[in-house]
């Protein structure tokens, strides 16, 4: 595919890719991109380090423990198994606390024990070595399922490959805690999405202003359709942003590995982490494209950074309102407010990401993504049209005496 039409000119998409390729490489290898990458890392690193130190201190006094309520022999076997595995696997094995050594035939209700909170345990292990039962919050029992199976196998003296099946039993109290945790995950996801979108949409503006300052916009406008310039810039910044997100993700992962358990833990979102992260990328792209098209249209009307700041202020404020709306909607699931937040194009990505953290249903996401794609197409078309009609009117071409200010720049060059 050459990307050319039958008469030899570039198609809009091919022309957009020429612009995108130039912008992408120019930004990627610029000093400003390096600092752009570093920028968000500083507060994150400081936050994580501070959080890590605090959590370590907290861990010493409040390290989550697994309560054991089994037959006396099973309890002893489990404790002995833990001691045996401690040197090799101590960092992944839960601390064991004996809640009760049961007599033969004695029953025990682990959920009642958890609800009464008489013991500072995060989960309770009951049943027997062959069929252990793990009760607690969904996230916690899910995390401890493997280690408990390993301990039970060791306690039975089995070969390592003969692990007993651990029965999981989520408690009502823990479910409420999970919901709170998922709410926190949703909040964290929304906040991260908002910060990223704002940061990168701002970069689109700076990029366009730089373009106009370099006075190359007329060369572009004469050679390719303005729609292609507009799309190319959006694509380039999206690609740059995904590189940025990738770098931040890797850096975050590396820090998580280095700091280990000291990292603050987020509750597993309702749709699971892989799907949640995938949706995060999609909703980020949609949110960015929607906001980017608005910012690009604004950028086409401005020639200096100061003008950009003046013009983008209302949009930034609007975006803040949208973020607040999405945050509020998160607390009102199923309400008209949430329905509005999900439907309104600018808040939809945020509201839907929050939903992904709290609700397992997937079809609303398919519907929302389809709606957002439609909105992106509409907004990009409108933005490109504005861009095309305004961008050549706001330049300083022609008589330099006519350069009086923003509003005079909205008029054409009268050469």
């Amino acid at each position: 595919m050459t990307g050319k039409n039958s008469n030899g000119r570039l198609s809009t998409l091919a022309a957009a890719l020429v612009v995108a390729r130039r912008d992408f490489t120019a930004i990627l290898f610029s000093r400003s991109f390096f600092f752009f990458l570093l920028g968000p890392l500083f507060p994150v690193i400081v936050g994580i380090m501070a959080g890590g130190i605090g959590q370590r201190a907290q861990e010493s006094s409040e390290r989550p423990e697994l309560g054991v309520a089994m037959q006396a022999a099973d309890v002893d076997a489990m404790l002995a198994a833990r001691d045996t595995l401690e040197p090799r696997l101590g960092h992944i094995l839960p601390e064991l606390v004996v809640i009760k050594r049961l007599s033969p035939g004695e029953s025990f209700d682990p959920h009642k024990a958890l609800a009464e909170r008489r013991h500072q345990v995060a989960a309770v292990l009951s049943g027997n070595l062959q069929t252990p039962i793990l009760s607690g919050s969904v996230g916690r029992i899910s995390d401890w399922q493997g280690p408990v199976s390993m301990l039970a196998a060791q306690a039975q003296g089995n070969a390592p490959r003969d692990y007993p099946q651990v029965t999981l039993s989520a408690s009502a109290v823990s479910k409420a805690r999970d919901r709170r945790g998922q709410f926190m995950t949703a909040q964290a996801g929304q906040t991260l999405l908002f910060l990223l979108t704002m940061l990168l949409a701002g970069m689109v503006l700076s990029n366009l202003v730089e373009e106009k300052a370099n006075k190359i916009i007329e060369v572009l406008a004469a050679a390719i359709p303005m729609d292609a310039v507009f799309l190319g810039k959006l694509f380039a910044m999206l690609a740059v942003s995904l590189v940025g997100v990738g770098v931040w993700g890797l850096a975050g992962g590396a820090i998580a590995l280095a700091v280990g358990h000291a990292l603050p833990e987020l509750t597993t979102p309702a749709v699971g982490w892989p799907l949640f992260l995938g949706m995060g990328v999609i909703y980020f792209s949609m949110g960015y494209l929607l906001l980017g098209s608005v910012f690009l249209a604004i950028g086409s009307m401005a020639t200096t950074v100061r003008e950009v700041q003046t013009l983008s202020m209302p949009v930034t404020m609007m975006q803040l309102m949208v973020f607040f709306l999405a945050s509020y909607a998160m607390t009102q699931p199923g309400s008209p407010v949430e329905l509005f937040a999900v439907s309104f194009p600018f808040s939809s990505p945020f509201a839907m990401l929050a939903r992904a953290a709290q609700d397992t249903a997937l079809w609303p996401h398919l519907a929302a993504i389809a709606w957002q794609v439609l909105c992106v197409v509409i907004f990009v078309r409108i933005g490109a049209k504005l861009f095309r009609t305004r961008v050549m009117k706001s330049g300083s071409a022609g008589n330099p005496r006519s350069r009086k200010g923003f509003f005079s720049r909205l008029k054409p060059a009268r050469a």
Binding site: K4, R9, L10, A15, L220, A223, G395, S402, K411, P412
Partner: protein
Amino acid sequence: MVMKMDLGNWSAAGNAAEAGDKPLAIEARGLIKRFDGFTAVDGIDLTVEEGAIYGILGPNGAGKTTTLRMLLGIIDPDKGVRRVLGHDSPHEVAHAIGYLPEERGLYPAMRAYEAIAFVGALRGLPLAEGRRRARLLLEEHGLGFAADRQIRQLSKGMAQQVQILGTLVHKPRLVVFDEPFSGLDALNQGRLERMMRSLAEAGTTVIFSTHVIAHAERLCDEVAIIAGGKVPFAGPVDVARDRIRPQVRLETRMQDGEWRRALPADARREGNFWYFSLPESGVEPLLRALIEGEAGILSLSIERAGLHDAFVAIAGEAAAKALEEDTPEEERQ
């Protein structure tokens, strides 16, 4: 006739067949462009034959850039139609057009050869081929040493040359320069003039706008004089000059006599010299009358009007004054 550019009289201005045998590079009818109530271009008809060098001459604010932008499809006219290289939409033939805008612009961090290749890529030239041609062009124009330098490391003149080469890298059939001599020193102005001539000799159509009469006079087959968004004259440079009667300078031995009747009413005397426009009847009847009237002719010279005088006569004193004010001293050569 190579080119016609008239106001609002398309049928009189002629169509492609009337304009000449060569195919037309530009064909526009009744172009009008208004911006917020201001009419920047007020009904321009334009035909340009392929292979011509055509100048659009006028002061800043006359409508030159707006006209060029409409022809290139950067902006659309409010009224009127245009055909560029046989296509209704200029973007359809973008790959065959080169454009140097008045405001020069390159990415400062790009290397010179990359900048040229990038402009070529915008016009559909594959990047690898663009890079190859860019290096060749830079070598040919004595800038091979600067091929790998960033634009920000080049002098202003060199950067302008790089942009001009970017305009040509894809071998366009039509090249449009907006104020190409602006900001260039005399040496580079001469180089650019030679380049424009060689382009035209190779069959490329060259259109340029300028507010420097000398460039138009030296280079153009035809000019359009534009002022206030209108075109009071378009045609060959000689025809423009002929709008003004040649000026006669006469020196006589006799101070007075019958021969004075042969002088037109606007004749003025400075010492032994008389200055006046050559009468429409021509030089022979004048000479006969002077001899028969015993003027005692010591010297007589007839000077053809320059394009500047023609511009004053055609566009008016105000436009001519604006043109002079726009032209820096170093560019008036």
